[in-house]
């Protein structure tokens, strides 16, 4: 790729040319596909980026017992940290109860957050299978999947969260 020198950029600037935004400073380097793949952990709402792997709520109960229960409580309630179980009707309570079941709009982003940020003290240490399994377990506790349903990159995006339509763009 041809990159104009800084001199030519400054000449364009001096002329007040509108095309300056299209100029390159020639600083920085191209990132390789492998380099991008290693860091691109983003999983959007449609779940296109979900990894290989799978798990069921039954598998996830064991993961939860060891890695999650201490903070989130027995079966997702009563812990010292975020409660995981609920339904959107609880958003009208005072105070409102915001949980995975009551508030989260997508199951795919639950997978994303769990994979990169949980467990709190050891983020990023769960395998893809473990994340699918523990995601399935939390969704099972919320009554959203069956105990033996297999969640993977195909089935997880099919789970419709109860509060999916609960968010509106800031009208201010």
């Amino acid at each position: 790729m041809l990159k104009p020198s800084l001199l030519s950029v400054s000449i364009l600037l001096g002329l007040g040319a509108a095309v300056v935004s299209a100029q390159s400073y020639g600083v920085g380097r191209s990132a390789s596909a492998e380099e991008v793949a290693a860091w691109d952990v983003t999983i959007g709402p449609e779940g296109h980026e979900l990894p290989e792997g799978s798990g069921t709520a039954k598998d996830g109960a064991q993961v939860y017992e060891v890695r999650c229960k201490e903070c989130h409580g027995e079966e997702g309630v009563g812990g010292d940290h975020a409660a995981l179980i609920g339904n959107p009707a609880q958003l009208k309570e005072t105070p409102p109860v915001k949980t995975v079941g009551s508030y989260w709009p997508y199951a795919t982003t639950l997978f994303d957050y769990t994979r990169r940020a949980m467990p709190f003290e050891e983020p990023g240490t769960l395998t893809a299978d473990q994340v699918y399994a523990v995601t399935a377990y939390v969704l099972y506790l919320n009554g959203l999947v069956g105990e033996d349903d297999v969640l993977d990159r195909e089935s997880l995006p099919q789970v419709v969260m109860p509060n999916r339509e609960g968010f509106v763009r800031d009208p201010r």
Binding site: M1, S21, A22, S24, Y25, V27, G28, R29, S30, A31, A33, E35, V36, W39, D40, V41, T42, I43, G44, P45, D80, H81, P88, A89, L91, K92, T94, P95, P96, K98, V100, Y103, W104, P105, Y106, T109, D112, Y113, R116, A117, F120, P123, G124, G166, F167, V168, R169, D170, P171, R172
Partner: protein
């Protein structure tokens, strides 16, 4: 270093966290000086990195937490001057602790809907054209306690999740254009290098207009707590979008609905729906002196001073009431007034020693006027935990003690 004269002088007390003492006192009149007119010995020699006076004790307010790595500390706004928050007193809100990032190996990856994915080292970033801008950063949970009528007892507790710095860095537009923005790109996802890889989505429009990849803060390198070696600054937008330890930006067609922008920083309404992507911080002001926890030592002259800011541009007006809202006086704004930055306001006042309530309100260049609590609740209800910008009131008792009062 004798007092210039016998006029009233005021100074800040030291016990910020234990409840600051703010005292106006009368200097002794024409008495023999307690100290010699000239020091009789030399002071300390030059040093490599300066320290504040041992008499100064201002500190961030830190509350006990089971998870101090995912907690916040608050700026003692009543112990800062002007509009710049000392970097060491800038508020903190972390989600997985402060990472130690080596600038020699750190890189910023830009990918997604771009013509060519790019990686920039810290040195690369510093070669590019830079700008310096004064902007506040405010956690959208700041003043969350003010949704309740009681409110918080000190200004650090009520408003201390906001700070203001001069940020130096590269306009994000330059970096994105180096990678080549594809027409389908409408949003960005920014990611930090902390243990949880904190992420937020933001509009590409905002990134191009005002986004800054900052490496400088108040004349030196950004502090680790503020994102060393580089952070995103999206002026006027809720603090969480100003991703610290910035390491990755992905251009996308739509927002990613990550945890913090769905389960956390959304505004729940009374009907059970929630506003999402409530990026802009509404105009807000607060009187910092005198404020809760201070004690005024007797009637007489007292300058009232405070801070105002808005995510929608410049503050155009700050008003102060010294009679519980019956009348309002225009406060003087410190100039220059920067856009999306703390603006210091000041009003001279003669306290007659009787009980009263002080309030402040501000207006920004969009015409928006800071609301009272009732107006804010009428618009938002009582279920939202964030974006509380209501008028704050301080009660002054006849004995000079200053406490929180309902606005």
């Amino acid at each position: 270093m004798k007092p210039r004269d016998a006029t009233r002088r005021s100074f800040l007390g030291t016990g910020a966290l234990a409840g600051a003492a703010w005292t106006a006192c009368t200097a002794p009149e024409a008495e023999a000086p307690a100290e010699p007119d000239q020091p009789s010995s030399l002071g300390t020699p030059v040093s490599r990195y300066g320290q504040r006076s041992p008499y100064e004790k201002a500190a961030r307010g830190v509350r006990e937490s089971q998870t101090p790595e995912a907690a916040s500390s608050r700026t003692p706004l009543d112990q800062t001057y002007g509009i710049i928050t000392p970097s060491a007193l800038h508020f903190e809100r972390h989600h997985a602790g402060v990472p130690e990032v080596d600038p020699a190996t750190h890189k910023l990856l830009i990918h997604g809907l771009v013509d060519r994915p790019m990686a920039f080292s810290v040195d690369d970033i510093k070669r590019l054209p830079s700008v310096s801008r004064v902007h506040f950063v405010e956690c959208s949970g700041n003043s969350g306690g003010e949704w309740s009528p009681a409110g918080a007892p000190t200004v650090a507790l009520s408003h201390g999740l906001a700070s203001c710095s001069e940020w130096t860095g590269v306009p994000l537009r330059i970096l994105l254009e180096e990678a080549g923005i594809q027409p389908e790109a409408k949003w960005i996802l920014a990611e930090g290098a902390d243990a949880c890889l904190m992420q937020r989505s933001a509009t590409l429009e905002k990134a191009l207009e005002e986004g800054l990849v900052a490496y400088g803060q108040n004349g030196e390198a950004i502090r680790p707590e503020q994102g060393y070696p580089m952070r995103l600054i999206l002026p006027g937008w809720e603090g969480n979008t100003n991703v610290k330890w910035l390491r990755r930006i992905k251009l996308t067609a739509g927002p990613q609905y990550v945890k913090d922008e769905t389960s956390k920083y959304t505004e729940l309404m009374e009907d059970g729906t929630a506003w999402i992507f409530t990026f802009e911080m509404d105009a807000k002001s607060v009187i910092t002196a005198p404020s809760g926890g201070h004690t005024i030592d007797g009637p007489g002259f007292l300058e009232i001073s405070g801070l105002a800011w808005s995510g929608r541009g410049k503050i155009t007006q700050a008003e102060v009431s010294t009679d519980a809202g019956q009348t309002w006086a225009e406060a003087e704004l410190q100039t220059p007034v920067y856009s999306k930055a703390f603006t210091r306001f000041r009003l001279p006042w003669e306290w007659d020693g009787s009980e009263t309530v002080l309030l402040s309100r501000c207006r920004d260049e969009s015409g928006y006027l800071q609301p009272g609590r009732a107006e804010l609740i009428e618009e938002r209800g009582r279920k939202s935990a964030y974006h509380c910008n209501r008028i704050k009131a301080w009660r002054i008792a006849a004995d000079g003690s200053v406490t929180n009062a309902e606005a």
